[in-house]
């Protein structure tokens, strides 16, 4: 026998269920309880850079919208700095919660476009949002990233996009431009399933 390793094991995940909004976004569940709900304002009033809107849907294996999804966003500021990892604008948190319309499943949120973030071994990562999806039927939260269509050069050398062998799969992480800003549809399954990340 050998000594036993004394690491603890991570608490196992369980689905957030259909009523996740009660805990994380009670206003969406239909009631008002806290002085302030968290996650409504990703960039804050003082953030520099380009103000953008991002909308889309999350769809299941049938192509039907996942109306009870909740998405968390984590992003750097326009200089590529994450809050807590360096100086950022007063009020910039870079984190938010997004709940789609319960009738249509369409989500929409405002933020600023993030800058290039330095990655491993000094390799720059193209501007991107980190997204985490939870919903009924999702046993463990799904991580993915959204990249920008107008960052062709940066995307071409991005170390994460570069790990995706099939071009058609790489495209699932790149938003498209639309009238309001950017459109990003996430497909949990089926045709053009989004690339999800084990981070």
């Amino acid at each position: 026998m050998v000594q036993s390793l004394d690491y603890l094991k991570e608490t196992p995940s369980q689905t957030a269920g259909p009523y996740v909004h009660i805990g994380l976004a009670p206003g969406a569940a239909g009631f008002d309880i806290y002085r302030q709900e968290l996650g409504h304002d990703i960039a804050g009033p003082n953030a520099s850079g380009t103000r953008i809107n991002i909308s889309g849907t999350v769809t299941d294996g049938f192509g039907a919208p996942v109306k009870d999804v909740l998405i968390e966003v984590w992003q750097a500021n326009a200089q590529g700095i994450y809050a807590g990892d360096g100086a950022v604008e007063e009020g910039f948190r870079g984190w938010g919660r997004v709940v789609p319309d319960f009738e249509t499943g369409l989500f929409s949120f405002d933020t600023v476009k993030p800058g290039i973030v330095m990655g491993r071994e000094g390799r720059p990562m193209a501007p991107h949002l980190n997204l985490w999806l939870i919903a009924r039927g999702i046993n463990i939260g799904l991580n993915t990233r959204m990249y920008f269509p107008d960052e062709v050069e940066a995307n071409a050398v991005d170390p994460v996009l570069g790990l995706i062998e099939q071009p058609v799969r790489r495209e699932t992480l790149i938003a498209t431009a639309d009238d309001a800003g950017y459109r990003f549809d996430i497909r949990l399954q089926g045709d053009r399933e989004t690339v999800f990340l084990d981070v």
């Binding site: 094991k9 196992p12 689905t15 299941d60 973030v117 939260g141 799904l142």
Partner: protein
Amino acid sequence: MSKPELFQRDREWHPRALTPDYKTSVSRSPNYPLLSLQSSDSEITGPTFGHGDIDPIDNDLLRNYAKTGDPIGERIIVHGRVLDENDRPVRNTLVEVWHANAGGRYRHKKDTYLAPIDPNFGGCGRTLTDDEGYYIFRTVKPGAYPWRNWVNNWRPAHIHFSVFGTAFAQRLITQMYFEGDPLIPHCPILKAIPDARAIERLIAPLDLNATIPLDSIAYKFDIVLRGQCSTFFENRPEGN
């Protein structure tokens, strides 16, 4: 890189994405393998919260929505520590909870179960862990409730937990169950977890030492988030 990398997540310890006895997972589980990434700043940084974000009453579900009196139900305390896999406390991290009322009904516009709404119970709370990683909530014990999966599925009494940690890749949502609940072995959501030892980790024991005599019964629920690597290659004045 300014912060240590995370231990790889043990995906065989967690429920798989596709667990057909939990029917909704069938069309909501990715078919392709996840793309595995080494940690970058995008994963090892994460949002932080402070006492300006929340109010002291937010962790008291007996009072944070009370209109005309206390909510109906068995008064309980749920408390414990948030640790990481290195057995270190996770300090000042946001813990959010939500659960059904004593009758098994959620205050949610999509919940239509026939059990009544409790006018004095909102069903959510939040708090920050202290310097030891400790948290505490006061609430009523939630009721079991039926759900449409098989025709006769009942969720064991449970409290949903959301925890942050210090890295966005530590983000975790789980559910706490209560010692002795006879519905536990019958729950397809709980049985989505393949390892019986992992299931036990979600069942909070009765904690008589933490009860308030003649007032509230207590359950203890410790939560473990992913650990961070130690390396010899970087100076970390705060210790590894």
